[in-house]
């Protein structure tokens, strides 16, 4: 077995451990994915909820705020991620003190993902039956309680579905951020595998990312199945 691995994946073995090795890269990818998913998740949910409740047919309509947020989300969603990385460099340094490495990638990852997730949250919550919202209003619930006890609760399966989708697209972005100095498996595949013609490194990097994607998709699907009645 060890012989086979040595024979077919020589460069993977050579690059497995050490500061720029696979083990570190895997951790970097997981770190970038989950830390930015956490923050993008919070921003995305807050923005998404605000978009739903301030819309014309929402529970607290506010045209000015809705228009502003709607445009803001569209604006940031329109900027190609690779350009966003470069453009917000100074802002990134202000927030996390560095622009390279996995931590330097966090700020652009959050800013690149939050608007996307906000849209997903908006779409998920708009799907919540308007009649149920009306029933909650008739019962005498405050807007805050309607958000927490109706929107987030009834919309939970759909939120998890879009959360899964967002994390998977986020993994794609970490690979891109990695290529311009963020580290992780994307960096491994490009700066080691691709640029040094070590194809086995590229392929294994890709496979590891696929495993991560499948695990997340599987967990998401499982949670949705448990929650839907």
């Amino acid at each position: 077995m060890a012989d086979l691995v040595n024979k077919f994946l020589p460069n993977v073995v050579a690059n497995w451990e050490g500061d720029n090795g696979f083990v570190v890269a895997i951790w970097q990818t997981l770190y970038m994915t989950f830390v930015s998913a956490f923050f993008a998740g919070i921003f995305g949910i807050v923005l998404g909820i605000l978009l739903v409740v301030t819309a014309d047919d929402g529970i607290t309509p506010n045209k000015a705020l809705y228009t502003f947020l709607d445009k803001l989300v569209n604006l940031f969603r329109s900027i190609p991620f690779i350009i966003l990385l470069a453009v917000i460099g100074p802002f990134t340094r202000l927030i996390v003190g560095q622009t390279i490495g996995p931590t330097g990638a966090l700020v652009p990852l959050v800013i690149g993902t939050a608007p996307f997730f906000a849209r997903q949250v908006q779409l998920a919550l708009v799907e919540v039956d308007h009649g149920v919202i009306e029933a909650a209003e008739a019962i005498g619930l405050s807007p805050m309680k309607i958000i927490f006890r109706v929107y987030l609760r009834e919309g939970l399966p759909e939120l998890i579905r879009s959360g899964t989708l967002t994390i998977i697209s986020l993994i794609g972005l970490t690979a891109m951020a990695g290529a311009v100095g963020g580290g992780g498996l994307g960096n491994m595949a490009i700066s080691v595998g691709y640029q040094r013609f070590e194809n086995d490194v590229t392929i294994v990097s890709m496979l590891l990312i696929l495993v991560l994607v499948f695990v997340i998709q599987g967990l998401g699907d499982f949670a949705v199945r448990k929650l839907e009645h």
Binding site: G131, E134, A135, G140
Partner: protein, 352 residues
């Protein structure tokens, strides 16, 4: 009549919507007074504004103008917080039930109780009692998706009753249900009215639903209230055409008339077609016998419908009178002298 101190008083309600440059007057200058203990029915075709009107009662729909007084409280003047408190006294059920799919039957009934300040044990006791009242005690752990439409509506009723409201609004609550389930749900509402003394406002487009439980009826058309009165007067003596249409659909006299016109049966009998409406204890037989005894006029009964509404008999009879012309004339005069509504029906089809 206690016109001024009803539990629900809507005065001069206007609701106007503006959308895409168009102005839609959904409700136009409607005033309604519902007394405590009433089962008040609002009937009209879809688009008549009845749903908009009842949403004004708990201010889910803010009126463009007019006042809403519920339990001597002017709701339009309340703060958002006080309005939410006032809404707890007004339960509401809907056409599509509007239950939380993520909660069990138990959880759905508990939903409005979470802010009630009751302890968990007190809530459980109350929920069990409510589920018992609506006949779903054995379904507490089920999710709405596992229930039939009628059962879902029962859960919705239990939820609406959770805060012990004095008023229950039913917005087309039986429109999505089959006839048998509709009857059961209406029976339940009637029982709640009698046993708990809860005031009920029912919106529907079915006269049969009104007939079954309401004691007062309002008819709406194009955003306006065109007729209002006790069930007996509306049913026994409808004034407006739309009201007559609703009553006719319910008694089936409309379709019978069409058939009679098409069949030409009255021509064969060479008689005159008379419609008789009566409320109270007149019955068909003596009238028919009397007509023959007094005038030698034969009355061929073509249709007869007798209903018990709120323990009073309401009847409609359709017959062809045949005999000598002056005798028939005298017979009609005699009928007019009785305590019944007599109407001669022209056999010409509408539009001819």
């Amino acid at each position: 009549m206690a016109e001024q101190n009803g539990i629900i008083q809507l005065k001069n309600i206007d609701v106007t919507f503006h959308s895409e440059g168009k102005t839609i007057e959904a409700v136009k200058d409607v005033s309604i007074n519902v007394n405590k203990g009433d089962v008040f029915g609002v009937i009209g075709y879809s688009g008549a504004g009845k749903s908009t009107l009842v949403r004004v009662i708990n201010l889910l729909q803010k009126p463009t103008s007019g006042t809403v007084v519920v339990n001597d409280q002017n709701l339009t003047q309340l703060s958002a917080k006080d309005l939410r408190k006032a809404r707890r006294n007004i339960g509401m059920i809907f056409q599509h039930f509007n239950l939380m799919n993520s909660l069990t039957v138990y959880g759905n009934v508990d939903f409005p109780l979470r802010d009630s300040g009751l302890s968990k044990a007190e809530r459980k006791q109350k929920i069990d009692k409510l589920l018992d009242i609506v006949g779903l005690a054995d379904r507490a752990k089920n999710y709405p998706s596992q229930l039939s439409g009628g059962q879902k509506q029962r859960v919705a009723i239990a939820r609406a009753l959770a805060n012990d409201p004095e008023i229950l609004i039913s917005d087309e609550a039986t429109s999505a249900l089959d006839p048998k389930t509709t009857t059961e749900i209406l029976d339940l509402l009637g029982r709640l009215n009698k046993e708990l003394g809860i005031t009920i406002v029912i919106i529907t487009h079915e006269m049969d639903a009104i007939k079954q439980v309401c004691n007062r009826v309002a008819v709406m058309e194009n955003g306006q209230l065109i007729e209002e009165g006790s069930l007996l007067t509306i049913f026994g003596n409808p004034k407006k055409q739309l009201t007559k249409d609703f009553v006719n659909t319910s008694t089936h006299i409309g379709s019978v008339l069409d058939e009679i016109r098409d069949s030409g049966i009255v021509d064969k009998l060479s008689g005159r077609l008379i419609e008789l409406n009566y409320i109270g204890d007149s019955t068909n037989e003596p009238i028919v016998v009397e007509l023959y005894k007094r005038f030698k006029v034969e009355a061929n009964i073509l249709f007869s419908n007798i209903e018990r509404l709120q323990n009073t008999t309401v009847g409609i009879m359709l017959f062809a009178l045949t005999g000598e012309d002056d005798k028939v004339e005298a017979a009609i005069e005699y009928l007019n002298s009785l305590n019944v509504n007599v109407k001669e029906i022209s056999l010409k089809k509408e539009g001819e």
